[in-house]
């Protein structure tokens, strides 16, 4: 946000604007920028998912729209969804039904505020950054339950209930895994966490010690479950619950759920990148071995894309778990492991 404010200073007569406008405009502008980036990222991710799945399945995926490997296919699909009739079934709870997709999306979107894309490219550096992400990120549960309840459809209800149970359960191991990073850094600020990992790949938390490495694995699995990706996609398991909580949605509102899903995917990948893969920092420290070839935000995106690719790769090679197995994994496997990790990291911090 600071950089955007500085850029806005360049506009002639900007400083003559009233005080509240000068406070508001950078906020709005940065929101728009983040939203645009997010939409672009989502479009790209959807395209990427189609391509990854297609090639794993010996197909080609979309090939026509846009020319090169169908790059504009998702754009066309998004436009189609926006142009579609907004169907609200007769017996739904209208207010909740209309609100739910936006709340789900809000949860994903709001968390981007503290995600540091580069050394200076972030909206805000809150001192409780990671806590804020965990808190705001769970907002989407409310939206999902709202969608499930308001749809007045039994499949949606099942989807909503499953999602609630699942996301809330997996919040705990994921928060524990985040703690394995917070303890050595000693700060909740995302920027501080990245700065603690400066100086090349050996300083990243994923390679710092076995506890943080396992922490990364636990966080990765838990985050998969939090964003409802296979093998943990039981809330929208299409072979059981048709489409789960968004069964009754169509057109624009469905697009928002879709957007939120991929935005969430990018969010957890971004958080994992920030916490464990050194955020925007280079793989090899530039100053003395190699020049800084790529700007920070691009490095960040590449790292996040790598994680997202693994997510997709997993999705297209594994079957889905059952509800009880999912809960078993969360409460009996991930939770004890994450406790041990926190303990271990704590010991390291105290006695090393």
């Amino acid at each position: 946000m600071e950089s955007i404010a500085r850029l806005l200073q360049l506009i002639p007569k900007y400083s003559e604007l009233p005080e509240f406008l000068r406070a508001l405009i950078p906020v709005v502008v940065s929101c728009v920028v983040v939203f645009a980036l997010l939409a672009l990222a989502v479009l790209f991710l959807v395209w990427m998912e189609r391509k990854v799945s297609a090639h794993i399945q010996d197909r080609l995926g979309p090939m026509y729209v846009g020319g090169w490997h169908g790059w504009a296919q998702t754009l066309a699909d998004a436009l189609k969804l926006l142009l579609k009739e907004d169907i609200v079934p007769a017996s739904v709870d209208r207010t909740l039904f209309k609100m739910a997709p936006f709340i789900v999306f809000l949860g994903a979107f709001a968390a981007y505020v503290v995600l540091p894309f580069g050394a200076t490219s972030f909206v805000a550096d809150l001192n409780i950054g990671i806590l804020y992400i965990v808190a705001v990120g769970s907002l989407s549960v409310i939206g999902i339950i709202m969608a499930g309840w308001a749809s007045n459809n039994k499949y949606s209800l099942y989807g909503g209930m499953r999602a609630a149970a699942q996301i809330i359960s997996y919040e705990i191991p994921s928060a524990m895994a985040i703690m394995t990073v917070i303890i050595p850094v000693g700060s909740l600020s995302m920027v501080d966490i990245v700065n603690a990992q400066k100086g090349g790949i050996q300083n990243w938390f994923i390679l710092r010690n076995p506890f943080t490495f396992l922490g990364f694995i636990v966080y990765f699995i838990a985050s998969l479950a939090e964003v409802n990706r296979t093998p943990f996609d039981i809330p929208e398991a299409e072979s059981e619950l048709v489409a789960g909580y968004h069964t009754e949605y169509s057109g624009m509102r469905f697009a928002f759920f879709f957007l939120a899903e991929y935005a969430n995917m990018f969010l957890v990948a971004g958080v994992a990148t920030t916490l464990f893969l050194g955020g925007w920092t280079q793989v090899i420290p530039g100053s003395f071995i190699a020049p800084q070839l790529l700007p920070g935000p691009i490095v960040f995106f590449l790292k996040a894309l790598l994680i997202i690719f693994v997510q997709m790769w997993l999705r297209w090679s594994l079957p889905r778990l059952r509800v009880d197995q999912l809960m078993y994994l969360s409460w009996k496997v991930l939770l004890p492991i994450s406790f041990v990790l926190v303990l271990g990291v704590g010991c390291l911090a105290v006695y090393w």
């Binding site: 039994k154 039981i234 072979s239 048709v242 594994l318 079957p319 889905r320």
Partner: protein, 373 residues
């Protein structure tokens, strides 16, 4: 509308339009949370009056309709029918017809089992094996198309013979396909069959004990999954299957009790390998001959009745034909394997979870066209 006041039980209608009911089947689930207290199947949404239609069409004209019962294994459907009519009329077929019929039936069995395995993976949540299976199935359909011109509904087996002789070079293509295909089964096993998540989802779920299975008239891979070694091809051979050397795989309960969903699934996978074996032998036995040799000019069976059963991919397919001496059958009753296995569904699925209901249904490998006929 009936209202159930008995506490927390909710009625969940799964189907007729549901992604994993494999067609238009409706399951009335009485659910208590995720637990299914009772699952009542309702069938008949795809009823096309096959048996009534058959009474109004002459014998050769029925063959295209038999194709449409089990559209995944049309060759086997028509094979059962033509064998029944041939038995009724006392027609002898020559060796070439016999071998080509066996090759076609076994190829179609592979194709059908590939669909079964693929869609089962899809039911469990793994989408990739589905497309891999369809990729291989496509090659089989290409072979069929080249031979008889159709990819799905063949009308290839005729009473007393075949529609066309196979094209020159067919044998080589079949062998090439088998050579290519056999390693692919291992690939599928790696991704799906031995996947621990898949095993956890399917083993110890939907146990069908041998006694219950026999009592419910379950046949085919579903019965063999329960550990009963019974295969019409072995135990009541038709078409000279007794000359072929193949095994009858049964469920052994590798990952849990015998008769689980996983056993039923793996029996199909193993059967595919046996089919490959049979095809190799049948191709070796293929002798020159005329496939139209014993096609009767006019199909008019004598008065009588016949019950002929064959081993279709989904189990024992029986045709019961009553002839009153006309050009049309007086009565044609089909004993469809999926119909009987579906009647056992309620028994098996009681007390499982919603996800398990899907797993059980998928492991039965039903085709609604055959249930409703």
């Amino acid at each position: 509308m009936e209202v159930d006041y008995s506490g927390d039980v909710m009625t969940l209608n799964m189907g007729p339009q549901h992604p994993s009911t494999h067609g238009v089947l409706r399951l009335e689930l009485k659910t208590d949370g995720e637990i299914v207290a009772d699952a009542i199947p309702h069938i008949g949404y795809l009823h096309r009056c096959f048996e009534k239609l058959a009474e109004n069409i002459d014998y050769p004209g029925i063959i295209p309709f038999t194709d449409r019962m089990d559209y995944c294994a049309a060759m086997n459907m028509e094979l059962g029918y033509v064998l029944a009519v041939e038995k009724l009329m006392g027609i002898q077929i020559n060796n070439r017809v016999r071998c080509i019929r066996i090759i076609m039936a076994e190829l179609n069995r592979i194709a059908s089992h590939l669909i079964a395995a693929g869609t089962y993976g899809n039911d469990i949540g793994s989408f990739t094996p589905f497309l891999w299976c369809f990729r291989d199935r496509e090659t089989i359909l290409d072979l069929f198309e080249e031979t008889c011109g159709a990819r799905l509904l063949y009308n290839y087996n005729w009473i007393g013979g075949l529609m066309y002789d196979v094209k020159p070079g067919f044998e080589k293509k079949v062998i090439d396909f088998i050579d290519y295909f056999e390693p692919q089964v291992g690939n599928l096993n790696k991704l799906l069959s031995d996947n621990y998540i898949f095993v956890k989802r399917t083993a110890a779920v939907g146990i069908l004990s041998p006694e219950v299975a026999i009592n419910y008239g379950v046949t085919g891979p579903n019965l063999r999954g329960s550990g009963v070694k019974f295969d019409v091809r072995k135990d009541e051979p038709y078409l000279g299957y007794e000359e072929f050397d193949f095994d009858v795989p049964v469920g052994k309960g590798d990952y849990g009790p015998v008769g689980s969903c996983w056993d039923r699934y793996i029996v199909r996978i193993r059967e595919v390998k046996e089919s490959c074996k049979i095809i190799r032998q049948a191709v070796a036995k293929l002798t020159p001959g005329d496939v139209h040799e014993s096609i009767p000019k006019r199909v008019k069976p004598p008065v009588g009745e016949v019950y002929m059963r064959t081993e279709a991919p989904r189990g024992e397919l029986g045709y019961y034909i009553v002839s009153e001496g006309g050009v049309k059958p007086h009565r044609l009753k089909v004993k469809s394997p999926c119909f009987t296995v579906m009647s056992a569904f309620r028994e098996v699925s009681r007390g499982s979870m919603i996800a398990d209901v899907i797993a059980i249904l998928g492991s039965f490998d039903i085709v609604l066209g055959e249930i409703d006929r």
